[in-house]
């Protein structure tokens, strides 16, 4: 177990939460986008978080991952698992589209309207995005606090040398 493990763990949390904030910002920016290269309205995007898998040769890691798939999240939705968690941090597995249907607004004069006069707007809800943004921002702050605590602990250890 290295000395800077805790900083790396918190740094993985920082980059994961920053990615979440980037995706949320993209959702808000495209809240009214009706045209995308894939065709159709913009789809709200979600970041999938998972615990980082353990290093295969980690001698001090408890409960190594048996799965061959490196993207398989360990113990997903398995509350019965009592296996000790690896101290490896967090990772973003990927970005997925929200499958909820588009928001339909009746605007027959809009050039984007379909045959029945409805415009397909993205399934983005600004209020929901703001709440998610707040949660990601607070989690980011918590990781920063953990890094600060790591620094303080390192300084305490170093001051032993001064005695």
């Amino acid at each position: 177990m290295g000395y800077y493990d805790s900083v790396e763990i918190s740094a993985s949390g920082l980059s994961a939460e920053r990615l979440a904030m980037d995706v949320i910002a993209n959702n808000i920016a495209n809240a009214n986008t009706t045209r995308t290269p894939q065709g159709g309205a913009f789809k709200r995007q979600l970041v999938i978080f998972a615990q980082k898998p353990a290093a295969p040769d980690g001698s001090d890691q408890v409960g190594s991952q048996a799965s061959d798939d490196p993207f398989a999240p360990p113990n997903p939705f398995d509350p019965s698992s009592s296996e000790p968690a690896n101290v490896e941090g967090v990772q973003a597995l990927g970005i997925q589209d929200d499958p909820t249907p588009d928001r339909l607004v009746f605007e027959p004069n809009n050039p984007e309207a379909d045959a029945r006069g409805y415009v397909h707007y993205p399934n983005v809800e600004i209020v929901k995005e703001m709440v998610d943004l707040m949660a990601a921002s607070r989690a980011y702050q918590a990781n920063v606090a953990a890094i600060t605590a790591s620094q303080n602990m390192g300084n305490n250890d170093l001051s032993i040398l001064k005695s």
Binding site: S6, G13, P76, P84, V87, A149, S150
Partner: protein, 145 residues
């Protein structure tokens, strides 16, 4: 794994070193819990190194108390203490509580409180270690400072 029978610098320094190491390992667990605060299905893990440290010291029998005599293995011994067990704390997973509908049970407030208390504990251990080394230096240089 501490061997408290061989003590080059005194038992206190060895104990404090193990305590500082345990605080560092617990800090890794707390940092991991905080980093995974938004991970669906994540279960909080913790490291109870304090009780492991206590068990590693054993419980020596009270010299002023009379131990109860036993003549059968099935009788419970009373008053003759317990033997030390090797110090090897293992992280444990909390499967009892649930904070969110996605299966995560990270209580961020609790984790921040533990982070704070663990940092304070580590600082205390560090200060005590400094005091111990000060004693050793005073003894070896015969210079009080």
């Amino acid at each position: 794994m501490a061997d408290f029978s061989v003590l080059p610098l005194g038992q206190t320094v060895t104990l404090l070193g193990e305590a500082a190491k345990g605080a560092k390992q617990e800090h890794d667990q707390i940092a991991n819990n905080i980093a995974n605060v938004n991970t669906p299905g994540f279960r909080t893990s913790y490291l109870d190194f304090r009780s492991a440290l206590q068990d590693s010291l054993g419980d020596p029998p009270d010299p002023d108390a009379l131990a109860m005599a036993t003549d059968d293995d099935r009788q419970f011994p009373v008053g003759d203490g317990s033997a030390p067990v090797p110090y090897d704390p293992q992280p444990q997973v909390d499967t009892t509580t649930q904070m969110r509908v996605d299966g995560s049970n990270v209580d961020i407030d609790q984790q921040m409180a533990q982070l704070s208390s663990n940092t304070g504990y580590q600082e205390t251990v560090s200060q005590l270690l400094q005091e111990q080394y000060k004693f050793i230096r005073e003894a070896s240089t015969e210079q009080p400072n």
